[in-house]
Subunit: 288 residues, 2 copies
Amino acid sequence: MNIILSRDSQVRVMEDTVTNAEKSFGQFCSLLAAYTRKTARLRDKADQLVKQLIDFANTENPEMRATLRNFAEDLAKVQDYRQAEVERLETKVVNPLKLYGVQIKQTRAEIKKFKSVRNNEIKQLEKLEKLRQKSPSDRQTISQAETSVQRASVDASRTSHQLEETVDTFQKQKLKDIQKIFSDFVTIEMVFHAKAVEVYSSAFQTLESYDLEKDLEDFRAKMHGVYGRYDARPPLMDTTLSPALPWSLAQNAQSTIRSQRKEAMSEDDSAEEDPVEDLRGQAQRLHQ
Amino acid sequence: MNIILSRDSQVRVMEDTVTNAEKSFGQFCSLLAAYTRKTARLRDKADQLVKQLIDFANTENPEMRATLRNFAEDLAKVQDYRQAEVERLETKVVNPLKLYGVQIKQTRAEIKKFKSVRNNEIKQLEKLEKLRQKSPSDRQTISQAETSVQRASVDASRTSHQLEETVDTFQKQKLKDIQKIFSDFVTIEMVFHAKAVEVYSSAFQTLESYDLEKDLEDFRAKMHGVYGRYDARPPLMDTTLSPALPWSLAQNAQSTIRSQRKEAMSEDDSAEEDPVEDLRGQAQRLHQ
């Protein structure tokens, strides 16, 4: 009976190993899938920030415009690396964890098979025990039952050996996979963070080298340019009207100013062709 | 009339500047607040992963247990830095953008004040114009109206000058703030990513140095230990029962095996005191 008991315990160790792995890998899988999704949402938010930066840049004077566009480009680059991070996490971390279910099912099937073989052994043993108690003198029937027990024991022993090997392989693979999956996780994260440091260092330089004074000069020129068409800063007393200037002419003058401002702005806008498109193209390249 | 027109345009430039800043800063504020929130969610997910890693580690053999606990500790460290990132983004990026509304309101009030002064100037001018057309010979009334126009013009000119200074200051502050806020954003991100690279490098070492063979030996010993109590690998034929061995004794033997396994596991568990508590304590220190 000791063999059967030890097998019972052995099966319990194996079942515990498999059950625990199934539960834990399932939880790791859903947690890491959620981690990947949250990373993707962070990327989406940053992508919106990039778009907003470019929109805002287009309303600013050349210095700030160039600074913000460069910064937006760097921020977009970080998101490209984040996108690569998301894809790698899915491929090298989440998917292997998902596929783990298959391996666990196979091992479970082996354990189930062993259990039925072991149950047969117990059944034969019980049969023999009953025979010995009921008809201890029926040597022939007892001998037949002993043969059945022996056959069942051989089966159980062989299956037990197979099971042991299966669970050993399972455990080895499990430990290897944990090491591999988390090493891959760490590598993917490390690469992303290292790239982010690199790109943000360049972004920092861009922002540091922004020339505020030059931009303010442009702004002031724009403001005074409106005056400038008539007189830079008219003397305070020069405010009496010439009755000769008709309202209609004044209206024309105003619309000229407007269209000129508009021209100046659209000229600035055309200096670079659709930066969003550029970034997307770049993103596609990086994602390939 | 040209002065009024130029002032009209000037006011429009100023209003555009303020309106655009208000809109853009509002959008930047909500985008960066959302970015910060998404970062916090990523931290939460990773915190759950840390907890799950520790739970799983506690069910594993000593080698894997130590490896996973060290890895979990590193992962928790990264979340501490992420928490610091979240707090800094709130303090140095989101809050300054929120406070921006106050500055915009002040500038809007200045523009409104100027507009009413300018409207008065136009009213006086129109009054003068009417007088000149209706009673061109009423020198005294026209002279009075001319004085009113002059006074209104002086007012408008002074207010215009003030407004110009206000908007100049506003624009200067705005450009400075953009540079400052995004530089802070980049610095905060850069510091976080650099720390993450550092911690993940150590985590990678931890995972690399994991000794799979040693762990498998432990696992095999555990499995064979169950056999080992009786006989390492009994000969196949030694399966006939001694009828002298009662079922009750066999039951006792089984429960002994169980309690020994349990003891071995609880001994392993007590090797380190509540690692989750440790990590929390560490997190608190880092956050202070």
